[in-house]
Symmetry: C2
Subunit: 204 residues, 2 copies
Amino acid sequence: LFENQFLTKEAIAEHHILGQIFDTYWLVSFSDKLFMIDQHAAHEKVIYERLMKRLKEKQSMTQTLSPPMIISLSKSEQETAYRFEQELLEIGFVFEPFGGNEFSISGIPADLYGMQEAELFYEVLDGLMNEHPSKVNDAILSKIASMSCKSAVKGNQRLSDEEAKYLIEELLRLDNPYNCPHGRPTIIAFTKYEIERKFKRIIS
Amino acid sequence: LFENQFLTKEAIAEHHILGQIFDTYWLVSFSDKLFMIDQHAAHEKVIYERLMKRLKEKQSMTQTLSPPMIISLSKSEQETAYRFEQELLEIGFVFEPFGGNEFSISGIPADLYGMQEAELFYEVLDGLMNEHPSKVNDAILSKIASMSCKSAVKGNQRLSDEEAKYLIEELLRLDNPYNCPHGRPTIIAFTKYEIERKFKRIIS
């Protein structure tokens, strides 16, 4: 269904955004296909891939918190934080002890807009806490997926045309834009051929 | 799939035309459905229903030819023309003898833009010529269908947004807008539910 050459830079320039239906799905025509794009799944995918790319290239991108946020961690949370300090740093968390059980968080992963910063840190620690060291990469991946999901725009949430355009272009540039990190589709494609068959312009 | 209440006047006012794909199909959202409308089949249907309505209400609507067109008819064509004069008048043909084998055509059915007037008349006579009188109504219907088809806008033929809007509204006001006179679909509908299932937002 999806040929790879579709997603060349030239190709992306030629797509045309028709509009949105049900406040959630964007209709995009491209060459001889019609795409329906789920804005939530698309955003989730785009955030996930941004985070994954940085993780792979070891260039964490941090959103600086100024002033830093002071939070209390339990003993087991502290232990987890130290144990996975490197991994947490790689996804963008910057923290240091602040005396007693308190920690100062001065950076969180970029792109995770709209989440409670403290909640985010607790949740990631919680996800890592009981992991066997050999599975820590999977745990990080799964956390990134769930963080992406939480911070992604929802269905029914208003996107401007400009935001939609930006999101769709970023999605279509990905190597595999077709599934969100949870495996749900981001794009449903209808070919011209399929549509012509439905209209009985082609009989077969 | 299609509830009748959809097509009330209020409902029609609420549809939203998103745009066109493949130079042929118009995407229209309405409430919790997405419609794809084939512009050729839609136009064919609309022309057909206009002609049928007039035929039923015995109000023929004629497009006056000025000056009238003079054409020659063979003996058997003349005989057919006289035999079905009433029926021909009802669909909008106005003609009278003009001496010898010549006839003066001063009116042809309205809405059949872009057809050669002479060709149209010959073709209708030809369709009626060998019909058994009991089947003449069917023959007229089938001729109206084929005339509608010929004079309808084609796929890939440029419609302005204004023309498309007018066509779509007229289509949606019909009692049964969903099939062209040849039985091909004019509209393919996708419900929100179907789309959500495709995106696995609904699992069943």
